[in-house]
Symmetry: C2
Subunit: 114 residues, 2 copies
Protein backbone atom coordinates (compact mmCIF):
# COMPACT_ATOMS: atom_id res chain seq x y z
CA UNK A 1 0.00 0.00 0.00
CA UNK A 2 1.13 3.45 -0.95
CA UNK A 3 2.72 5.79 1.59
CA UNK A 4 0.60 8.72 0.40
CA UNK A 5 -2.61 6.78 1.00
CA UNK A 6 -1.48 6.03 4.54
CA UNK A 7 -0.80 9.71 4.98
CA UNK A 8 -4.38 10.57 4.05
CA UNK A 9 -5.82 7.83 6.18
CA UNK A 10 -3.77 8.98 9.14
CA UNK A 11 -5.25 12.46 8.70
CA UNK A 12 -8.67 10.91 8.81
CA UNK A 13 -7.93 9.07 12.05
CA UNK A 14 -6.37 12.20 13.52
CA UNK A 15 -9.68 13.94 13.02
CA UNK A 16 -11.24 11.32 15.27
CA UNK A 17 -8.40 11.34 17.77
CA UNK A 18 -9.79 13.84 20.25
CA UNK A 19 -12.37 13.31 23.00
CA UNK A 20 -14.27 16.50 22.18
CA UNK A 21 -14.57 15.57 18.53
CA UNK A 22 -15.76 12.09 19.36
CA UNK A 23 -18.32 13.61 21.71
CA UNK A 24 -19.50 15.90 18.92
CA UNK A 25 -19.91 13.02 16.47
CA UNK A 26 -21.71 11.04 19.15
CA UNK A 27 -24.13 13.94 19.66
CA UNK A 28 -24.81 14.03 15.93
CA UNK A 29 -26.04 10.44 15.95
CA UNK A 30 -29.54 11.68 16.65
CA UNK A 31 -29.51 14.23 13.84
CA UNK A 32 -28.31 17.74 13.16
CA UNK A 33 -27.45 20.08 16.04
CA UNK A 34 -26.56 23.74 16.29
CA UNK A 35 -23.16 24.82 17.59
CA UNK A 36 -24.85 26.07 20.75
CA UNK A 37 -26.50 22.71 21.38
CA UNK A 38 -23.24 20.89 20.80
CA UNK A 39 -21.44 23.25 23.12
CA UNK A 40 -24.00 22.70 25.87
CA UNK A 41 -23.31 18.98 25.89
CA UNK A 42 -19.58 19.49 25.84
CA UNK A 43 -18.31 21.70 28.64
CA UNK A 44 -15.85 23.54 26.44
CA UNK A 45 -15.94 27.14 25.42
CA UNK A 46 -17.33 28.56 22.24
CA UNK A 47 -14.14 29.01 20.27
CA UNK A 48 -12.86 25.59 21.23
CA UNK A 49 -16.03 23.93 19.95
CA UNK A 50 -15.89 25.99 16.80
CA UNK A 51 -12.29 24.97 16.23
CA UNK A 52 -13.08 21.30 16.63
CA UNK A 53 -15.96 21.67 14.21
CA UNK A 54 -13.60 23.31 11.75
CA UNK A 55 -11.33 20.29 12.04
CA UNK A 56 -14.22 17.91 11.41
CA UNK A 57 -15.27 19.99 8.40
CA UNK A 58 -11.71 19.94 7.05
CA UNK A 59 -11.81 16.15 7.08
CA UNK A 60 -15.26 16.15 5.53
CA UNK A 61 -16.75 14.32 8.46
CA UNK A 62 -19.53 16.86 8.96
CA UNK A 63 -21.45 19.39 6.92
CA UNK A 64 -23.04 22.72 7.87
CA UNK A 65 -26.37 24.27 7.04
CA UNK A 66 -26.88 27.89 8.01
CA UNK A 67 -30.17 29.41 9.03
CA UNK A 68 -29.95 33.04 10.02
CA UNK A 69 -27.04 33.27 12.37
CA UNK A 70 -27.34 29.67 13.50
CA UNK A 71 -25.17 26.87 12.06
CA UNK A 72 -26.57 23.37 12.05
CA UNK A 73 -24.05 20.57 11.83
CA UNK A 74 -24.71 17.05 10.68
CA UNK A 75 -22.80 13.91 9.72
CA UNK A 76 -21.70 13.69 6.12
CA UNK A 77 -21.51 9.91 5.78
CA UNK A 78 -23.41 7.70 8.25
CA UNK A 79 -20.73 5.05 7.73
CA UNK A 80 -18.84 7.01 10.37
CA UNK A 81 -21.18 5.47 12.95
CA UNK A 82 -20.34 2.04 11.63
CA UNK A 83 -16.71 2.93 12.24
CA UNK A 84 -17.40 4.12 15.76
CA UNK A 85 -19.36 0.96 16.48
CA UNK A 86 -16.53 -1.27 15.34
CA UNK A 87 -14.18 0.80 17.47
CA UNK A 88 -16.49 0.27 20.42
CA UNK A 89 -16.43 -3.47 19.81
CA UNK A 90 -12.62 -3.57 19.75
CA UNK A 91 -12.61 -1.45 22.84
CA UNK A 92 -14.95 -3.79 24.69
CA UNK A 93 -12.89 -6.82 23.69
CA UNK A 94 -9.86 -5.13 25.22
CA UNK A 95 -11.71 -4.48 28.45
CA UNK A 96 -12.80 -8.11 28.61
CA UNK A 97 -9.20 -9.26 28.07
CA UNK A 98 -7.97 -6.99 30.80
CA UNK A 99 -10.62 -8.16 33.23
CA UNK A 100 -9.72 -11.77 32.50
CA UNK A 101 -6.08 -10.94 33.15
CA UNK A 102 -6.90 -9.24 36.44
CA UNK A 103 -9.01 -12.19 37.51
CA UNK A 104 -6.16 -14.52 36.72
CA UNK A 105 -3.66 -12.43 38.65
CA UNK A 106 -5.97 -12.39 41.66
CA UNK A 107 -6.33 -16.17 41.55
CA UNK A 108 -2.59 -16.69 41.31
CA UNK A 109 -1.89 -14.53 44.34
CA UNK A 110 -4.61 -16.37 46.24
CA UNK A 111 -2.98 -19.74 45.42
CA UNK A 112 0.39 -18.50 46.60
CA UNK A 113 -1.17 -17.25 49.83
CA UNK A 114 -2.78 -20.63 50.49
Amino acid sequence: MNQLIHQFKAEFFKALAHPARLAILEQLRTGEKSVGELQAGLNADQSTVSQHLARLRASDLVQVRKEGTTAYYSIRDPAIFELMDVAKKIFNNQLVDRQALLRQLRNESRSRAA
Copy 2:
Protein backbone atom coordinates in the same frame (compact mmCIF):
# COMPACT_ATOMS: atom_id res chain seq x y z
CA MET B 1 -21.73 9.34 26.77
CA ASN B 2 -19.09 9.79 29.44
CA GLN B 3 -16.15 12.14 28.94
CA LEU B 4 -13.72 9.52 30.28
CA ILE B 5 -14.88 6.98 27.71
CA HIS B 6 -14.27 9.49 24.96
CA GLN B 7 -10.82 10.07 26.38
CA PHE B 8 -10.00 6.37 26.08
CA LYS B 9 -11.47 6.11 22.62
CA ALA B 10 -9.49 9.12 21.48
CA GLU B 11 -6.31 7.37 22.68
CA PHE B 12 -7.28 4.40 20.60
CA PHE B 13 -7.74 6.52 17.47
CA LYS B 14 -4.48 8.35 18.18
CA ALA B 15 -2.71 5.02 18.01
CA LEU B 16 -4.02 4.68 14.45
CA ALA B 17 -3.33 8.29 13.52
CA HIS B 18 0.09 7.90 11.97
CA PRO B 19 1.01 6.73 8.47
CA ALA B 20 3.81 4.45 9.69
CA ARG B 21 1.54 2.75 12.19
CA LEU B 22 -1.18 2.22 9.59
CA ALA B 23 1.43 0.75 7.27
CA ILE B 24 2.55 -1.62 10.03
CA LEU B 25 -1.00 -2.80 10.71
CA GLU B 26 -1.54 -3.23 6.98
CA GLN B 27 1.57 -5.42 6.79
CA LEU B 28 0.26 -7.55 9.63
CA ARG B 29 -2.87 -8.43 7.67
CA THR B 30 -1.06 -11.44 6.21
CA GLY B 31 0.15 -12.70 9.57
CA GLU B 32 2.95 -12.10 12.04
CA LYS B 33 6.12 -10.30 10.98
CA SER B 34 9.46 -9.62 12.62
CA VAL B 35 10.57 -6.06 13.33
CA GLY B 36 13.14 -6.39 10.58
CA GLU B 37 10.54 -7.46 8.03
CA LEU B 38 8.27 -4.60 9.05
CA GLN B 39 11.14 -2.15 8.81
CA ALA B 40 12.02 -3.37 5.30
CA GLY B 41 8.54 -2.47 4.06
CA LEU B 42 8.56 0.87 5.77
CA ASN B 43 11.54 3.03 4.85
CA ALA B 44 12.09 4.26 8.39
CA ASP B 45 14.96 3.51 10.68
CA GLN B 46 15.15 0.86 13.32
CA SER B 47 14.42 2.93 16.39
CA THR B 48 11.53 4.71 14.71
CA VAL B 49 9.87 1.41 13.83
CA SER B 50 10.49 0.11 17.32
CA GLN B 51 8.95 3.22 18.82
CA HIS B 52 5.85 2.93 16.68
CA LEU B 53 5.55 -0.71 17.67
CA ALA B 54 5.80 0.34 21.31
CA ARG B 55 2.90 2.71 20.74
CA LEU B 56 0.81 -0.01 19.14
CA ARG B 57 1.63 -2.33 22.05
CA ALA B 58 0.66 0.36 24.55
CA SER B 59 -2.77 0.54 22.93
CA ASP B 60 -3.00 -3.25 22.86
CA LEU B 61 -3.36 -3.30 19.09
CA VAL B 62 -0.53 -5.78 18.61
CA GLN B 63 1.19 -8.52 20.56
CA VAL B 64 4.79 -9.79 20.50
CA ARG B 65 6.23 -13.24 20.53
CA LYS B 66 9.99 -13.56 20.99
CA GLU B 67 12.13 -16.23 19.47
CA GLY B 68 15.80 -15.87 20.23
CA THR B 69 16.61 -12.24 19.56
CA THR B 70 13.81 -11.84 17.03
CA ALA B 71 10.47 -10.28 17.93
CA TYR B 72 7.43 -11.33 15.94
CA TYR B 73 4.50 -8.95 15.99
CA SER B 74 0.92 -9.80 15.24
CA ILE B 75 -2.53 -8.24 15.48
CA ARG B 76 -4.29 -8.69 18.79
CA ASP B 77 -7.89 -8.44 17.59
CA PRO B 78 -8.70 -9.02 13.91
CA ALA B 79 -11.62 -6.63 14.32
CA ILE B 80 -9.00 -3.96 13.68
CA PHE B 81 -9.12 -4.95 10.00
CA GLU B 82 -12.87 -4.51 10.03
CA LEU B 83 -12.24 -1.01 11.32
CA MET B 84 -9.68 -0.28 8.64
CA ASP B 85 -12.05 -1.57 5.97
CA VAL B 86 -14.86 0.68 7.12
CA ALA B 87 -12.40 3.56 7.15
CA LYS B 88 -11.45 2.69 3.58
CA LYS B 89 -15.11 2.72 2.59
CA ILE B 90 -15.66 6.18 4.10
CA PHE B 91 -12.51 7.31 2.42
CA ASN B 92 -13.65 6.07 -0.98
CA ASN B 93 -17.04 7.72 -0.56
CA GLN B 94 -15.27 11.01 0.04
CA LEU B 95 -13.21 10.60 -3.10
CA VAL B 96 -16.34 9.86 -5.12
CA ASP B 97 -18.03 12.98 -3.72
CA ARG B 98 -15.03 15.10 -4.61
CA GLN B 99 -14.85 13.73 -8.11
CA ALA B 100 -18.54 14.43 -8.62
CA LEU B 101 -17.99 17.98 -7.41
CA LEU B 102 -15.08 18.48 -9.78
CA ARG B 103 -17.11 17.11 -12.68
CA GLN B 104 -19.91 19.50 -11.85
CA LEU B 105 -17.56 22.47 -11.64
CA ARG B 106 -16.08 21.57 -15.01
CA ASN B 107 -19.53 21.33 -16.58
CA GLU B 108 -20.57 24.67 -15.16
CA SER B 109 -17.54 26.44 -16.54
CA ARG B 110 -18.16 24.79 -19.92
CA SER B 111 -21.78 26.07 -19.94
CA ARG B 112 -20.62 29.58 -19.14
CA ALA B 113 -18.06 29.39 -21.94
CA ALA B 114 -20.71 28.29 -24.49
